[in-house]
Amino acid sequence: MRTLTPGEQLPEWSLPMTPTTIVSTAIATRDWQDVHHDRDVAQAAGSKDIFLNILTSNGLVERYVVDWLGHDAELKGIAIRLGAPAHPYDTLTFRGTVESVQDGVATIAVVGSVSLGDHVTGTVRVSAPVIEERTE
């Protein structure tokens, strides 16, 4: 069980974006929009290439926080703002900070960035029993 302190930083996590990453996660999230698997269609629509879908941005935020907290973590919510697209051959790098711990709920601020800027910015709320407020 992990003890959380406001200000504490999560270790950085980098994930290489490949066509396989983007296509496999789009299909695994049951998102068949063509811009997530067909480069010709994505480029015709004005994109540089295919790009990561939103359900996967959420899934990766979940994974990033829970892998750090421990698998007994109970997520209460994920709130994200969407920014720069994540294209193949880029790298998606997550950083996080424990923002607050209150009434058994921790809020963890997360940013996932790519070469074009922030891909995702948001917060994850997690509840006890993983959280023990540190009283020293």
Partner: protein, 169 residues
């Protein structure tokens, strides 16, 4: 730009908002282990809980995705509002915010239903992408129990920007 004026856009927004949870769809398949397993593999994520009966919370939306070649119900409030804005000249769309809340984790075998309502329409706003309206929808996922109880298990506020794309040089 052609089409509806700001007043007409806001009147349409009010009309659709007043319909409340105007559309619903059922998950085509119950919460199931193969779909969870494929999701874990694609995410490069492993977590014993999700190999033994529980589903990752951020998969809530996955269960009710319409599927290849299937459409959302025509009365879907977000679709109706975005189509109205497309007609009004705000042709481009961009997802901007997604806020999910989980009441509990789902379990393998559960059957889900999702409703959709129009939460708000705000605009016109000048953005880096172009001028547009922010359209926010609210989804609520339910599990219906044999005793008639409708249990809300997750909610999502989803916001898109419907905008007039800036001329490309």
């Amino acid at each position: 730009m052609t089409g509806a004026s700001h007043d007409e856009i806001m009147a349409e927004a009010e009309r659709i908002q007043a319909l409340g949870e105007a559309s619903e769809s059922r998950a085509p398949y119950p919460v199931n282990q193969p779909t969870i397993g494929a999701w874990l593999d694609a995410m490069g994520y492993d977590n014993d809980r999700f190999r033994t009966g529980e589903a990752p919370p951020s998969m809530a939306q996955v269960w009710t995705m319409p599927g290849l070649g299937r459409k959302r119900p025509p009365e879907d409030p977000l679709s109706r509002m975005t189509e109205f804005l497309t007609e009004a000249g705000y042709t481009a769309v961009l997802g901007t915010n997604c806020e999910q809340s989980y009441e509990r984790y789902l379990r393998v075998g559960e059957e889900l239903r999702v409703t959709s309502a129009l939460d708000s329409v705000v605009g016109p706003k000048r953005t880096a992408m172009g001028e547009g309206y922010f359209v926010t929808s609210r989804n609520t996922w339910y599990v219906d129990h044999p005793d008639g109880r409708r249990e809300a298990v997750a909610t999502m506020l989803f916001r898109v920007l419907k905008f007039v794309p800036k001329e490309t040089p």
